[in-house]
Symmetry: C2
Subunit: 455 residues, 2 copies
Amino acid sequence: MAEIPYKIYLSENEIPHAWHNVRAVMKDKPEPFLNPETFKPSTRDELCNVFCEELVDQELNVTDEYIEIPEEIRSFYKMYRPAPIVRAYNLEKLLDTPAHIYYKFEGNNTSGSHKLNSAAAQIYYAKKQGLTSVTTETGAGQWGTALSMACAYYGLDLTVYMVKGSAELKPHRKAVMQTYGADVIHSPSDTTEVGRKILEQFPGTSGSLGCAISEAIETALKTPNCKYVLGSVLNHVLMHQSIIGLEAKTALDKYGVQPDIVIGCAGGGSNLGGLISPYMADKIRGKNDIEFIAVEPASCPSLTRGFYEFDYGDTGRTTPLMKMYTLGHGFIPASNHAGGLRYHGMNTTLSKLYHDGYMTAKSYVQTDIFDAAVQFARCEGTLPAPESSHAIRAAIDEALKCKETGETKTILFGLTGTGYFDMTAYTNFLNKNMGDYIPTDDDLKKGYDSLPKIQ
Amino acid sequence: MAEIPYKIYLSENEIPHAWHNVRAVMKDKPEPFLNPETFKPSTRDELCNVFCEELVDQELNVTDEYIEIPEEIRSFYKMYRPAPIVRAYNLEKLLDTPAHIYYKFEGNNTSGSHKLNSAAAQIYYAKKQGLTSVTTETGAGQWGTALSMACAYYGLDLTVYMVKGSAELKPHRKAVMQTYGADVIHSPSDTTEVGRKILEQFPGTSGSLGCAISEAIETALKTPNCKYVLGSVLNHVLMHQSIIGLEAKTALDKYGVQPDIVIGCAGGGSNLGGLISPYMADKIRGKNDIEFIAVEPASCPSLTRGFYEFDYGDTGRTTPLMKMYTLGHGFIPASNHAGGLRYHGMNTTLSKLYHDGYMTAKSYVQTDIFDAAVQFARCEGTLPAPESSHAIRAAIDEALKCKETGETKTILFGLTGTGYFDMTAYTNFLNKNMGDYIPTDDDLKKGYDSLPKIQ
């Protein structure tokens, strides 16, 4: 076998021609979405009120394992893909571990993250359907940036509701979206009913993804020729992100490398779901025994401390009900520098896989995360996003376990993005001016009480 | 011939094993540096007072065309190289031009630019010599970031004098350097004699590269076991950057592509010099007739309006005298968002080649630059640095000329870096809050009068 280089790049024609839909392989499927009034499964027509038709079809598709990627989307992908697999030789050396560490790096594009993979797909389908504009929400700003790039490329208008706390921490992230032509509004805002209501109830709130989603949906519903698009949580988004896992597996297979552990950060779940997708299918088929680890912030621990229940996807209760691990849509997560992980719920497919024992989860406080981030930046060069650094933290800990036991495990993690727009957070960390927040049982109880009562 | 992909990546073992030293090929060499007191050529010993020994040897080497890259530096390069050649298919389509446009993209690393190529080399040699710290200056912040990454990797301490105007425009750039462990000081500062003098003379000044260089040299001279390192201007830096041109040529040769025009932005000259190096050698040998174009800001036009004279490299008159195109070390360039191009002089090799007619130069005002930058970002995805956007502007103009004449010229330009830390500038441009400044003949006269009188 050839020596493994620092970076494994595929060639352009090795960019996958189809996405992978892990639900097709699952014996027990995730529960379908429910209409919150009738408690019956949401119909295609109901979903098409809010979302693009082709995306709804993908959302409802639990039978086709592969769905072809249109050539127009592959052309977009060619601007920044394939994304490399990196062997973390320097990190291994620093930790003095027998483990082999690999990461799939999705940050080498202007959006700075994997979000572009789904943005390109969604805006292509929106255009194909004849829409002229879309709305969305953004937390850390990576999804909003990705979408503004896709809208500039395909020629659609875009309104982004950006979580206020993130917008204030990252004015430059907002400026990038504006450079690509997007209209960026701080959420909660007075442009929507739900925003006005939340502002009235919680005047000082720094906002949340759940709230921004409600505002974006409300605006899409009242704007002609406009739909709402979402950067995570939904199954079609997770499927678009399977390109991460497909490329990772193709690249590693070339060198005969099979991971023992696959790690991803988990907010809404799309990056983690995309990374593990083909490997998980093999596990379900009994072909491997990989340990999958979801890593989340201790301040927003939907998998590790949440409830597997039907819940709304947003604070404003405008979405269908989804059976998922959730802290309750009424749970307002504490301010945290990993804005992209501040979400009360979790994708239904991942929730089901977790519930059925196919993967594990763990959580960390943010100072532990930034400690890993700085260590990684200094030895591997790349300055990671706070979200991605959750995966780094867990990978380092697994590698240190190997050091103790002497095992040569192969660890693969997803480095979803760069932290160039998170320098306020880094500065706070370096100045020891960063707090850690863990919700109390009472906080969780309040979230639980917000869950809808299914009849 | 195979169809040309969007991105041409070389494999890891195709990273060059030697740098290219174009001076070895030049029939008329650039003039040697002069001691400003004796007006005799600077000796190796004199230069070693300020610079690392091995770098001085490279600086003085005008005979060896190739200089081997040590394995320890190639290991560092492997973290972020090879850097791709990109075919600007989307830009060509947007411009509706018959021209073929390629760019060598050096921004896919945390420093955000090509500067890392020389930073790695210089810090490796500093460590080899047994130094424990280095000092430097930075304008746009790209060089300082690159150097802080190299110092973190090789384990040296670093003090960065950052041009005050840039530091205030880009606090996040400063935070990246601090994350990598650097000590960042705004220049002019009160930590040096020259800084205090300039502050006294020009209390409101936003600083300049020339002034920051003086401060960094002064500090290096008074600190034990410490030398000064420089990110551009000098010939050894230009030689380290030849890796850009060598990779570009190797990649394009694979597809039988020979550029008709090669374009680079020019501040101190290292990126441009590195990009053109192997192509220029062939031109000198009569093997091609490429048009080389240096692009500079109209506010700091050293090639297009400067004088080919001996001058100091810094405002504080601490460097040797260099025969170069210069606006005079006393010229203080107007504030401009391309901080990396605010330098009064130009590398001596490029100056000589320009003087001897081997290349041409042009200048643009900054609103024209940002206009090209936004256009490029929206169609090619990557958000460019203001410095790099000078090359984009010229490439677009050349492509538009081809549209008029119907010629299918092949244009190669250097996209040296990303603009993620330049969002204040982009915001100013989008808000039509950006001024253009062109020095008057009187301004130039004042600069000329500051030139040393050689006896």
